[in-house]
Symmetry: C2
Subunit: 204 residues, 2 copies
Amino acid sequence: MRHMTASPRVRMSPDSRREQLLDLGVRLLATRSIDEISIELLAEEAGISRGLLYHYFGNKQDFHRAVVRRAADELIEVTAPSSDTDPLVQLMLSLGAYVEYVTDNFEGYVSLVRAAASGDEGMREIYEEARAALTDRLFEVAGREQLAALGVTDSAATRLMVRGWSALTEEVVISWVRSPAGVSRDDLLQRLAHGLVALVRDPA
Amino acid sequence: MRHMTASPRVRMSPDSRREQLLDLGVRLLATRSIDEISIELLAEEAGISRGLLYHYFGNKQDFHRAVVRRAADELIEVTAPSSDTDPLVQLMLSLGAYVEYVTDNFEGYVSLVRAAASGDEGMREIYEEARAALTDRLFEVAGREQLAALGVTDSAATRLMVRGWSALTEEVVISWVRSPAGVSRDDLLQRLAHGLVALVRDPA
């Protein structure tokens, strides 16, 4: 059984301790579905009492939402655009990071997508916020001039297609990680990136 | 309270009666989520006893699956390609029928997508079968020669992108029906149809 590097006996602020426990929750989520992450499992892995965990997280639902929010923040962070000025290169790099994230956290990621799609309003909210952050960023990064150069107007129709592309990317990457069927990672990234450009371009 | 046109007292074969009850279930689903369709509601609307319904459908889960399977078959039927020989025109007509179906059956359709995404394996299976039927048809209809003329090869990568486009279309159409935000139906159909062509084209 692995324990956290910092012993729980070391005095830490409640906030730092909570953050550390959330990080552990996110790591556990990589290879498990959200339903398999219990307060009991976290207590065992962290080597602290269940009572203390309930003190930090209230109940199981609040604990799950906190872990998922942390996982979503992590995804937004690892896929943050680089400083490269070519928007297509930035997009390819972000997509590469996204594919790596889904590969490394497959069980947890698929369970989050399912939890968001199901009846849990709290999960759906976190998921929608993360998706909005990931897609709105595309417009901010590119900027109006670069969009115009690509033949793209920032309109309701364009935003709708970007939202659709985001669903496409999620579906395609999950399917590909599950079964690559001979499609190379580079081919996948090329198709997704060029697909976005084609989808948001104004009709001729 | 509406009742079925044919009185339940008229002698019908068990299969016809079951079909008739399923049709009623699908009609009820248009304006309700799947969880709101109970054996009790169907019994009331059909004017027959709950006992008889349990006789036809076994239990609630089997009843729900039968209704959803029927709804999926209906969707596949109404979006069937026309006899038009231009694949792009066929695609636009199918997409138009899909948009109309989602508009007319909004509550039920959204609840099905959610049920499929959640833990219910039976629902997911029906959903995956319907999606596969809807997308595989695109290749059959177009045929190898027409695909080649469009610059498309039938490959694992192409099938992956079509699967993604299907998720995109679902997301975009549900969002659009919920809030059109000034995007016209024609603009929507144009973007979805041309989007597919762009997504499946082999990279230059």
